[in-house]
């Protein structure tokens, strides 16, 4: 039989379920909450991918970059290890603990490292520390066959696998982790089985993105962002959106709200009705950042160290609900995925197309 092409060798569109939870006060809570929310939307996934991102889960190592890495074989592991040793101080390394679940099979080797860039190497590279980590991550994912860095930020981590999301959460024993924000994702790829790396969230440095929908601007976005040193190895929408956010927010220092208005820009007819200053600003953004425009249906939740941002496409072709209760904010594809973990809400809100819903921590996380 012909070998079915793996994700990254081929582009696999997919539909999905997403969920995000944050404590504005920075109180940490168990990953079980995220599992319970995403479990409710079982029918929005098809067992071909699920995952979680937790922030504030490694307080004891918060000053180090936490790398979660998949290895397909020991050759990849050895090659990647020597790359890491060449570029970083390895503070700690271990297998990520998992439990056996009948529905989750074919797992790769899953490792976790706490690292900091080698000062001499960093100085030699003439890059900022963050850019150094980004380049190393992209380098491994693009060039070391069989190795895949799942996440690389500080005090955060991504846990994903091929399977239903609730099973994935159990597999990774997420009930044992606690963080101040969690996102979860259940995937519905339309093509051949996705693979572990292709599941969501997709993460780079401190950003992680869960996404629902299939964008029609994919290749316009991909070919543009790849000009700036990114490499879209997975060919997924989430990957390219993450890179665009990293480029605009981290590298170009553009605030997230403006980033949202670049990705999901208002229509010209809306811009024409704005006051003169706003009109010029939005025209400037659409004109100069034209190739960052994302079209087609999407809803995304972007996690970063200070908060969460939910964003819908400008036509609002995907569902997204936001609920608040005390200092907790919940975002999900379906309202019941919120109600199942927070039955009594203070308020419920349906973000408009192209309008970002941004929640930031009120206090610095300890």
């Amino acid at each position: 039989m012909d070998r079915i092409k793996k994700e990254g060798e081929i582009r696999i569109p997919s539909g999905c379920a997403i969920s995000g939870i944050i404590s504005k006060k920075g109180n940490r809570f168990s990953g079980q909450t995220a599992i319970d929310s995403i479990r409710l939307m079982h029918d929005r996934s098809n067992g071909l991918g699920g995952g979680f991102a937790g922030y504030g889960i490694y307080p004891e190592y918060k000053d180090y970059y936490a790398f979660h890495i998949f290895y397909m074989d020991t050759i990849a592991k050895n090659e990647c290890m020597s790359f890491l040793e060449e570029h970083f101080d390895l503070i700690n390394l271990s297998k990520i603990p998992t439990r056996k679940i009948p529905s989750i099979t074919d797992e790769p080797m899953i490792w976790r490292y706490f690292l900091s860039p080698l000062p001499t190497k960093l100085a030699e590279s003439q890059l900022t520390e963050e850019e150094y980590v980004v380049r190393c991550t992209i380098n491994v994912n693009a060039h070391i066959k069989g190795a895949f860095i799942v996440s690389s930020g500080k005090n955060m981590g991504v846990f994903k696998a091929q399977g239903y999301p609730e099973d994935v959460g159990e597999f990774y024993k997420l009930e044992e982790y606690s963080g101040y924000s969690w996102t979860a994702h259940g995937r519905y790829p339309t093509n051949t089985p996705g693979w572990w790396g292709g599941a969501h969230p997709f993460s780079l440095l401190n950003y992680s993105v869960v996404h629902n929908g299939e964008i029609s601007s994919y290749d316009a976005n991909r070919r543009y962002i790849e000009m700036f040193g990114y490499k879209c190895n997975l060919q997924t929408d989430t990957e390219v959106i993450t890179y665009m956010i990293d480029f605009l927010n981290r590298k170009k220092n553009i605030d997230l709200k403006t980033v949202a208005h670049i990705l999901a820009a208002p229509f010209w007819s809306t811009i024409e009705r704005m006051d003169e200053t706003k009109k010029l600003e939005y025209k400037y953004l659409r004109n100069n950042y034209e190739s960052f425009l994302v079209t087609g249906p999407f809803s995304i939740i972007v996690s970063y160290q200070n908060g969460l941002m939910a964003l819908n496409d400008r036509l609002k072709l995907r569902s997204l609900v936001v609920g608040e209760k005390d200092d907790m904010v919940y975002m999900a594809s379906e309202e019941e995925a919120i109600r199942v973990i927070a039955p009594e809400l203070d308020s419920i809100y349906y973000p408009k197309g192209g309008e970002p819903y941004i929640v930031e921590l009120e206090t610095e996380v300890q």
Binding site: R223, F267, S269, T277, Y284, N288, E290, L293
Partner: protein, 501 residues
């Protein structure tokens, strides 16, 4: 005894039962094909003079005429076509360089026809452009990647000079002189109504057309005809013409007989004198000299105009474009070798250059590899025949397209490829007053507006089908294209996959 070696390619077939001897066909033919035989009292034709422009057919009130291909033939030969043989006869008789016009009629691959467009099914919705927003507004020029704020934290919205188009289609350069006053007027008024641009070509700008300045690209070519500070300031953008797809590497020559009083005024050379555009710009012998000309024009116009550099698609076009992008140009226009011309040596037109599709793919890729695609916009021309060609060009990586032949056809051109004779029966490629008068500029403009509006509707339909509601999301979106019947190498150069993949 006079021997006629070259026989006419077409025959004028007249249905005598319909012909009413009104002699309109005779009056309308500048080539003197039709005449009235007083003895026989019938209209007859000297068909060896016929260029097959259909003027007589179109004006005949009783539909008595048709032009057919002659079945007169040489002995069948797979190696020697009729054209090969007759062109040898022509050159043997005259010793002349064969002169032709419009784009090559030879059967080179048209890659537009070997690419298919995608549409959404299930995983992503298609959009109805009639009822939902569908945007085609396009900006050409350098794109900034940084935002600066003023003291009130408002974005500083100054950009380098740009062009704003309501859709990514412009009329490309055709000089006043090569085409008529009325043709220019039709293009200028249509560009204004459509919210796009027309291009003066290298012939200066007629005083009557300064009012269309906001929709005008003024061209500076090697002959520098009609170029002075007021002219440079008159347009919205300045185009430096380095080359033309139909005749890469050679200049232009408008013979003195075409320099009429009016043409003489805009070119600013004496009436009846030859207008010679040398092959190169003699102040540009190297890429750093192009930078000198680009900045000379920017300084002269105080950085208010984007500078377009137009080149012919040739073998090493990727590297050339990269050099242009780095020399301060805001827009690069690439003209493919199937593009049209008012006159070009046949062998150059038919054999020099490369197809625009491959050139575009190579240039877009190269500029992205070098991380400078945002520094410059790409405009392509040279056989954009339909809205589908526009969509494919944008998806391959163009920011906009230039059309010329399509526009002329909208004005009545029948592609008889005889512009170089200067006797265009449709009033387009001529400076003969009575022929020129046949083209009504208002009607011409209306036809152009109709054509481009129809294309716009079709472009929106195709975008909607792909689930894309703004043109920028189509730009360089090569996943929306698949090749059909192309080799691995062709697919690699075009950067697309084959249909079925």
């Amino acid at each position: 005894m006079k021997v006629n070696l070259i026989q006419s390619e077409y025959e004028v077939i007249r249905d005598q039962s319909r012909c009413i001897n009104c002699r309109l066909c005779e009056k309308q033919c500048s080539n003197g094909v039709n005449y009235y035989d007083k003895k026989l009292k019938v209209m007859l034709s000297e068909e060896w003079k016929c260029v097959n422009c259909h003027r007589c057919v179109a004006v005949c009130p009783t539909h008595a005429l048709k032009i057919v291909k002659s079945d007169h033939c040489f002995k069948t030969n797979a190696n020697w076509s009729k054209h090969d043989i007759t062109n040898i006869f022509r050159q043997a008789q005259t010793g002349g360089v064969l002169l032709s016009s419009m784009g090559t009629p030879k059967e080179y691959p048209v890659y537009w026809d070997k690419m298919l467009i995608n549409a959404s099914q299930v995983t992503n919705p298609s959009i109805d452009p009639l009822r939902e927003p569908m945007e085609t507004r396009t900006f050409l020029g350098k794109k900034k990647l940084d935002i600066e704020y003023d003291e009130n934290h408002n974005i500083i919205t100054d950009t380098k000079p740009q062009m704003e188009l309501s859709l990514p289609v412009m009329f490309s350069a055709m000089s006043y002189g090569s085409i008529s006053y009325n043709a220019h007027k039709a293009l200028a008024t249509a560009a204004q109504e459509l919210g796009t641009f027309y291009n003066t070509g290298e012939g200066g700008l007629h005083e009557d057309f300064y009012v269309y300045g906001e929709n005008t690209i003024v061209q500076v070519a090697s002959g520098r005809f009609g170029v002075h500070p007021t002219y440079l300031d008159a347009g919205k953008a300045i185009e430096i013409k380095m080359g033309q797809g139909a005749k890469p590497g050679i200049g232009g020559h408008l013979p003195g007989r075409k320099i009429t009083k009016e043409v003489s005024k805009t070119r600013m050379i004496p009436q009846g004198s030859d207008a010679i555009s040398p092959a190169p710009h003699h102040d540009i012998y190297s890429i750093e000299d192009l930078r000198q000309l680009v900045y000379m024009l920017k300084e002269t116009t105080n950085y208010k105009k984007p500078i377009i550099v137009k080149i012919a698609a040739v073998h090493n076009v990727g590297a050339i474009a990269s050099g242009i992008a780095r020399c301060g140009a805001d827009i690069i226009a690439i003209d493919g070798f199937r593009g049209g011309t008012g006159a070009a040596p046949l062998r150059i037109r038919d054999n020099v250059g490369i197809p625009v599709e491959l050139a575009l793919a190579a240039v877009d890729k190269r500029l992205r590899e070098e991380g400078i695609r945002n520094e410059v916009s790409l405009v392509v021309g040279g056989t954009i025949r339909s809205s589908a060609d526009v969509v494919k060009a944008i998806a391959l990586g163009a920011d906009a397209v230039y059309i010329a032949t399509s526009a002329l056809i909208a004005l009545g051109c029948h592609l008889c490829r005889s512009c170089h004779l200067g006797k265009c029966n449709w009033g387009i490629a001529t400076q003969i007053k009575e022929l020129e008068d046949r083209l009504d500029p208002e009607e011409g403009a209306k036809n152009l507006v109709n054509l481009i509006s129809a294309w716009k509707r079709e472009i929106k339909e195709m975008m909607g089908g792909m689930g894309i509601n703004s043109i920028e999301a189509l730009k360089g979106n090569r996943l929306m294209l698949r090749g059909i019947g192309l080799s691995e190498k062709e697919l690699e150069i075009l950067g697309i996959e084959h249909a079925g993949e």
